[in-house]
Structures are given as C-alpha cells and as structure tokens.
Amino acid sequence: MAPILEIQNLYKNYGPVEILKDINIAIEPGDFLVLVGPSGCGKSTLLNCIAGLEPITGGDLMIGGKNMTDVSPKDRDIAMVFQSYALYPTMSVAKNITFGMKVRGVDQETQTRKLNEVASQLQIEQLLNRRPGQLSGGQRQRVAMGRALVRDPKLFLFDEPLSNLDAKLRVEMRSEIKKLHQTLGATMVYVTHDQIEAMTLATKIVVLKGGIIQQIGSPAEIYNKPANLFVADFMGSPAMNLIPAKARSGGKGAQIEIARGTGDPLILVDEHAPALPEDVILGLRPEDIAEAGFRAGADVQDASCLVDMVEPAGADTYVVSELGGKQVTARLHAETVATPGEMLDLSIDMSKVSYFAPDSGQRLN
C-alpha cells in the first residue's frame, strides 16, 4: 500500500537556525506514529509542518500520495488536536465541533448527523450546549477529539494532547485514544515528550533530538535495540543502565570486564558479541538483571554485586549497585531480600545486552 504520509528530506529553518534537519519518514495507513523527544527537539515543529501551519524550508511532504508541500492546512485532509485543546471559547460544544463543517459549507442535515455520531461515540451528548469554560479538562479533551473526528480525515495529528491532564486522567485518556485508533483504523501522528505514552500508543516511534532523527522503529525495536546512547537513555523508565567497560574480542565473542565496587572486576563473556573496540559502553535494561537462578538460558551469567541502595516500589524492588563507576539499577522481584552494604548474587542476560561506542554513542551490535 502506498504510504499515507511521506516526508522526504525535510528541512526547517527559522532564519539561520536549523530546527529540523533531513527528516525522512513514511507511514502506512493505520499506523500510529509517535514523535518523541525532549523539549526543544523540534517534534512540535515537525507536526506543524505536517499540518501546514509552518512552511517548510526544504524537502517534500506527501499526504495520501499527493504532494502537499505548498498546500494550505484546510486542503490537506487532516485534523489536529492541540495541547491547549484550542476550543473556541465563545462557541458551544456543538458549534465547536461543527465549525469546520460550517466553514466548508457542509449542509445542515449532514452537520447534525455527524455531530450526533461523534457525540455518542465520545459520550459527550449531554455537553453539547455548554461552553468550553464550563467543562473539565477531560471533557475539553473529548470535545477537541470530537472536533477532529467529525472531519473524518486521512490523517489525525495530536500535539501533546494529554500533557495538561492530571496523572490518572492521562492514563484513562491514553487508553481511550488507543481504543479509538483501533476501532477507527485511522492513521495518526502523535507528539509527546513522555516516553511511556510513546511506547504504549505507537506502532512506530520516531525519536528526535536537536532536529535530527535518532531512530525510527517499532516500540520493541526502540526499546530493545536503541540506535545510540541518547535513545537508550531516553526511552524506558527506569533508564537503561549504561556501564563503561573494557572489551577483549577473542575468537568467538568477547570478554567484558567491568570495574566493581569490591575491587576485583566483574568478567562477563558474550559469545555473540561482534568485534568490539577496547572501550565500550554496555547497555543493560534494569529487568535484564535478575536474581541468580531466576532467569535461565545459555547467555545468563552470574554476577554478584555490592548493594548500595534498595528501593521497594511495590510490584518490583529496585536494587542499586555501582558497576563501572555508574549507579546500576536492577529490577528485581518484590520479595527479594537485599541489604545495603552486602553482596547479592545476580545474573545478567547477555543476550539482551547493547554495546555502544563511547565517543560516537552509536550502537555496535
């Protein structure tokens, strides 16, 4: 199938400042693309470029196979939900939802029919005569979605739609958006700085930093095989452990040596390691460090570590130990007994390890 959104070599400058550099993205119908990155990385600008609210400096942008680079927002067949919801304050909820249709000259009957469809879908029928000012945050959010849904566009754009909600409501609305995506089968582009939102919603994630794409991939790819140190650190909570280590490549795999608080280094063997430089940074998710004996497999190796700190978090217990001069977090079972200052037998799943070059930060395996 032809990609529904295709961005080729997109550049965006504000005067001499390059905001976006050489962006290339293509998504298929039904995809849920999440643009994620720290604030100031250009993700919202990119979304505005897709919407046509910001002109692009270079490159091409196609929606539904048509070149939309110089087309105005209203003709791009898109709908957008904004962070502040951007509901028209003086109009009732019903008028807010039908405003776009009114502007486009849709007849009254169709307007009413679509309004009722969307209102029942989002369960906001009882709010139709209220003003946005009389609604709660969650209700405003629904109305904003209603305004997008009623358009039935090729592409939905969301600009951090949940960041103004409190934590509980955010989780609720998140699953609602996901449900909506599944029932509609619509194509969506979603901007967030919250990596958990990105992981839970996306079928495809774009990680941005400083206007440059760091990695594009499925949530699993991004999580398990981060392309560089930035992605490794940014995605996942608690963050991936990034441990400086010495590697000695042998005939088969490599021997990894990690400095340990106790004095003698921790030696790990990775039979599947590629050829590695001497200095590497070992990337290890907290859940890939387990209590000794809990994880089975050819690549699981024992490692006993000095416990610095224990953080029980209900479902899990986090144990922090110093490895390679860094605080390394292990996500262990809740019932694990660990005492700070004592050794704890752990095991590391070497099949899940990522290697990064310390200077370039790029992934090595």
Binding site: P73, K74, Y88
Partner: protein, 297 residues
C-alpha cells in the same frame, strides 16, 4: 470592626487601629468633598437665577430652582452672532464622535489581530511605529494635517474631523487590542486554520466575540478623547461644524454685558454629560477589561 473583639491584652493596639481607621475615613471624606465641591457649585449655580447668583453665596443651595439656564444653554445661548445654544454643536459632536470611535475601534481590532496573531516579518517594527504615534504631540501635526485635509477636500467638515481622530486613535486602539489578543493562545488560530477558516472568518467568528471587554475599554477611551478634544475641533472646523467643546468655549467667552454664570455652568455640564454617562454605564467593564488580559480563561 473585628479588632474590638480581640482579647484585653491587645486592647491598646486595637484602640490605635480604630483611631487610625477614623483618621483615614475623615481624610477620605475631605478628599471626596474637595473633588465634589466644583461639581456641587456647578449644579447649584446652574439651577439659580442670575439675580440669585449676584446676591447669594457661591456655595448656597438655590432658594428657587429654575431650569431656565439649562434651556438657554441648550437652545438659546449665543456663540458670537448666532444664538442657537449648544444643541447644533452637541449633535455635531455626536455625528463626529460616534463614527470616529466606531471606525478607529474597528481598525484597532483588525490591526491588533494581525500584529498579535498573524506574525509576519517586521510585525514588531510596525507595531512599534504605531505605538510611536501615541506619543506625537497634537500641535506638531496641526499644519501638515490642515494641508492634507485641504488637499483631500474635507477641510472644515465633520468627515475631515472624523478622519483626524481616526488617524490619531489608531495607535491607542491597536495597542489595546494587540495586548488583549497576544494573551490568546495562538493554537486557537491554528485550530481554526485547520478547520478551514480564513483570515476574516477567524476574526469575525472567533476573535471579535471574545473581545467585548477590550471593545468597551477602547470605546470609553476613544469616546472620551474625541468628545473632549478641543484643539483639533477648533483647528479643523468652521462655523456650523464645530464640536460642542468649541461651542462651549465660545458661549463662555463671547458673552457681552452681564456674565451668565448659570448658563455657563449648565452648558459645561451638558458638554460633559456624555462622557460621564459612558463611564457610569460602562465603568465596571472598563476595570474588568483592563485586567482581563492577565487572567487565563
């Protein structure tokens, strides 16, 4: 007065507070009296007969209330050789102020909307230049403006005066609307653009309905400025097109023989009444509008 309920230990402090309160109120009353005195004298004098003014005291209440002076001021007082009272000039002022206020407010709203929500290269420079217009002294533009009005063929006419006041008002009205609209999130404009609305549609359907408080502020400001203006009125009008302020001056200054203080006072009150009325009717919106921009919706 809750101070009085304090325990005895704090009694002396509470007593001090009460005294302070009273001193404060007395002072405030004195100030109020000071400000109200002229108005009191004006109103009472306008209701006295000339005879009574000559014989009585300035601050005394009228022994016999008569509205003759008001009648004369409205329709009989002489300005130079004509004796038609303020009435024709009052209507000149209405014909001048209403369109001038409406036009300058509308242009200000449109300007403010563009400068605040449709940022373009140089928007700030243009806005600064408009602001600069607020600070140009009236006297500086008198001669060039007279020449311009002459060239345009509207010298000495009410449309000419409207033109002058609109030009002079745009700086202020743009400032008011710009500051109001700049607090409205730009996402609103973006949402409307995605919805397909254009420049004027967004202005009419979204921004103007939001603008009531700032429209009230601008209308009060502009109306007061234009109604009370004397310099432009006296410079750019001729017999028959003079605004009420100029006529008031002529009535007060061109009386021969006995000075009719009661007529002068009545005329002054008539000339000032519309601005007073605007404040009384719309005053609460004025304060609300001035502070509205700072409150998030």
């Amino acid at each position: 007065m809750t101070e009085l309920a304090h325990p005895p230990a704090q009694k002396s402090g509470a007593f001090g507070k009460v005294v302070l309160r009273w001193v404060l109120y007395i002072l405030l009353c004195l100030f109020a009296l000071y400000y109200l005195m002229p108005l009191f004298v004006m109103v009472t004098t306008s209701l006295k007969s000339l005879e009574e003014i000559r014989t009585g005291s300035l601050v005394a209440l009228p022994r016999e209330v008569t509205f003759d002076a008001w009648k004369t001021a409205w329709s009989g007082a002489c300005t130079g050789i004509q004796c038609e009272g303020l009435r024709p000039y009052f209507w000149n002022s209405v014909l001048l102020a209403v369109p001038a206020v409406a036009i300058s407010t509308f242009i200000g709203a449109l300007n403010g909307y563009v400068v605040a929500q449709w940022r373009f290269a140089g928007a700030n420079i243009i806005f600064s230049l408009m602001l600069f217009g607020c600070f140009i002294p009236f006297q500086v533009v008198l001669l060039p403006m007279a020449r311009l009005l002459g060239l345009m063929g509207i010298a000495g006419t009410i449309p000419g005066l409207i033109f002058v006041h609109v030009i002079y008002g745009i700086g202020f009205t743009t400032l008011f609307f710009r500051n109001y609209y700049v607090s409205i999130p730009s996402e609103l404009t973006k949402a409307a653009k995605v919805d397909g609305a254009g420049f004027f549609r967004i202005f009419w359907s979204i921004f103007l309905p939001l603008s009531l408080p700032i429209i009230v502020v601008t209308v009060i400001w502009q109306f007061t400025q234009i109604w009370n203006d004397f310099l432009f009125g006296v410079s750019f009008s001729q017999a028959g097109t003079q605004p009420v302020t100029v006529a008031l001056n002529n009535i007060v200054n061109s009386t021969t023989g006995v000075k009719e203080y009661n007529v002068d006072m009545a005329a002054a009150i008539i000339a000032a009444a519309p601005t007073l009325l605007v404040y009384i009717v719309a005053g609460k919106y004025f304060i609300r509008g001035l502070t509205a921009g700072s409150v998030k919706g």
